[in-house]
């Protein structure tokens, strides 16, 4: 397989885009990525999206978007893996280019969630869980995560307030990201007094939904020197890519507080990249809920089992810490337009590696990891990118 480089990125702000349709949002991100890459066509388009069929009454997004952006006739397809749709779509595009099946691919993640009634959006999100045994029992997606968080607190003795730093760090970073949904910092007092959603998860433990799209442009590494971005940025290649699954229902797991699919996909990606967790400079993790930050850090080898919140309490997740996370705000504060999130993560890794992260720039960073999760730990896709 050929090595693959990311030569273009694009994103819309995560917001309530009531004036833009699904395809318009996707188009904005695709055009931005093409402009950034200096390319006016691609061999294939891969779309990450979860809910267009239920919330937007629109299927076949691959062709809808390729048609809309004027990439007529090219191969186009949509990939869905619940909240892990973006990362899964990136992996599909990556395999297509790495294998030689295509010489270029655009991957766009898009979701438009805020036009629907909140109850409709909540029901559509619950489709990420087991419809028969979780959603049908009245468990919303946040309720499932609340059960996991409560169990984790019980097992390891953490208090709710010990998770505050995950949200504080994400909001601090989002305050400097013009594309973030919640561009404001929060304090520990804010966190403690936030409205309860599903105990123990309160409003500042949970990521906001949103409308948004993010896109990347992929080419084989040996094409890199012919690209415009080559003159400006370091070459950025994908050195690890893996996906793994767990049971879809949390109650079917031996230990609901351990993300075995994160462990498995991260280990595969480390092995491909020839890297250990110690060599990862920063980690765009899937902080849909603050508990997920703790679990992801543990499963990927950055913290011992049961000790994830310690990294937050010790400040190691901030920009100058051992393992910065959510460096542009994460799901928590950049926002979580579900099927787009996995591509926002990749775009943000590239922003850091290129030195485009503004006030959030990590100095001298060369290796970044992104991890996208579909369902409550059911489908987990890990990517490692590095500068040449």
């Amino acid at each position: 397989m050929r090595k693959v480089a990311v030569i273009g990125i694009g994103q819309t702000p995560v917001s309530e885009h009531w004036d833009k349709s699904l395809k318009e949002l996707a188009g904005e991100a695709v055009f931005a990525a093409m402009l950034d890459a200096g390319r006016n066509t691609a061999d294939g388009l891969f779309v990450g999206n979860m809910m267009s069929g239920s919330l937007n009454r629109q299927g076949n997004l691959g062709t809808l978007i390729s048609d809309w952006v004027g990439l007529h006739k090219i191969e186009a397809v949509k990939i869905e893996a619940a909240c892990g749709s973006g990362g899964s779509a990136f992996r599909s595009g990556l395999i297509a280019v790495a294998s030689g099946e295509m010489d270029s691919a655009i991957v766009v993640g898009v979701e438009k969630m805020t036009d629907a009634k909140p109850a409709e959006t909540t029901a559509a999100l619950a489709a990420a869980a087991d419809a028969d045994w979780e959603a049908a029992q009245g468990l919303s997606f946040v309720a499932i995560n609340a059960l996991v968080m409560r169990r984790y607190m019980h097992e390891y003795g953490w208090r709710h307030t010990d998770f505050a730093l995950f949200s504080i760090a994400a909001h601090a970073n989002a305050a400097n990201n013009p594309n973030a949904r919640l561009q404001f910092a929060i304090t520990e007092a804010d966190y403690q007094k936030a409205r309860m959603v599903a105990e123990p998860i309160n409003l500042l433990d949970a990521s906001p939904i949103g409308d948004g799209a993010a896109a990347v442009f992929l080419v084989p590494l040996d094409n890199l020197n012919t690209t415009i971005s080559r003159r400006v940025y370091p070459g950025i290649t994908v050195v690890g890519s893996a996906s793994a699954t767990d049971s879809i229902a949390v109650h079917d797991r031996k230990d609901p507080t351990w993300l075995s699919a994160a462990e498995l996909s991260a280990k595969k990606a480390y092995s491909q990249a020839g890297l250990s967790p110690a060599e990862i400079d920063f980690f765009e993790l899937h902080d849909a809920f603050s508990i997920m930050s703790a679990l992801s850090l543990e499963a990927c080898g950055f913290a011992d089992r049961g000790s994830g919140p310690r990294l937050g309490c010790d400040g190691e997740i901030f920009r100058n810490g051992r393992i910065p996370i959510a460096t542009m705000g994460g799901l928590k504060a950049r926002g979580h337009p579900v099927g787009a999130t996995g591509i926002y993560q990749i775009v943000e890794v590239v922003q850091q590696l290129r030195g485009q992260a503004g006030a959030n720039q990590i100095e001298g960073t060369r290796i970044g990891m992104a991890q996208n999760i579909g369902g409550s730990g059911a489908t987990i896709v890990t990517h490692i990118l590095r500068t040449e």
Copy 2:
């Protein structure tokens, strides 16, 4: 890229499976394909499905099904391209195995449509069209095809009854297929007096919806000699695979009666296989409506432009004709469980190439083609399979 062989197939009957859930249907087909292949695990699972989010309130089918069939931890993902989801999923699995990213893959197409109210199903199907400019104008999916058929009849002077043989041939074949939804023959008189759906499309021009699942097991060709099926069946390899797109809305096309994406993907597949249309023994085409049979035969080089119905009238589409189509009943009479259809087509090609087609067996066949269409000609995926 490595050559890939199909070593296992499985399918459920297409029916109203009110007693089986989406994952149970998929599981039946997956287990049948694994049993047929003599394998008890695979590296990846690719699911073709269009409407589970809207009709079944269930997303993340990749992991849902891999979990259900006990293929824990493996990579799993869902691919959606409207009615072309099955063919697109097959192509994703094929690329994963051909590239060396995986050493085996199961591809399953599944759709469960008959539990919902008819109006819900019709609305969900309309998501395959352009939601803003087609569905929003009140155009159902059958209405769009009716406009195309009317235009075609006007352009080329065909009468409605000239399309009868497409439906008669499909039903004749379905009568011998225990997995078909409509296991009965029809006459020209039946066709002419059938109830009108959207003029000129009547009930016997249109394929029925249904619940069903079909699955295939893929391995690299160099693995073939280690398989159980090797002892019984000829090796069957995929020699052509391509996907192309057109505008999603029919009104955006220069000629709404020409399937340019079918032409493009078929030409690519022929080129990869080193074959011409004359060398294709039979063609599992996407006869969602009788007009689509005519258009597909023309775009793929089996008939001149505007002359597709002639192949029907001349009997060339029957088992002993020049280019048999819908050999196990096609969408028209085997049934069209949308996201599963593309995999049913591949399964049926393999049945023919193995000599397992029973009363519908084409003698001495060695090369079969399957073409799956998403939307009204928007996304078209072509595969050519042959015996060694």
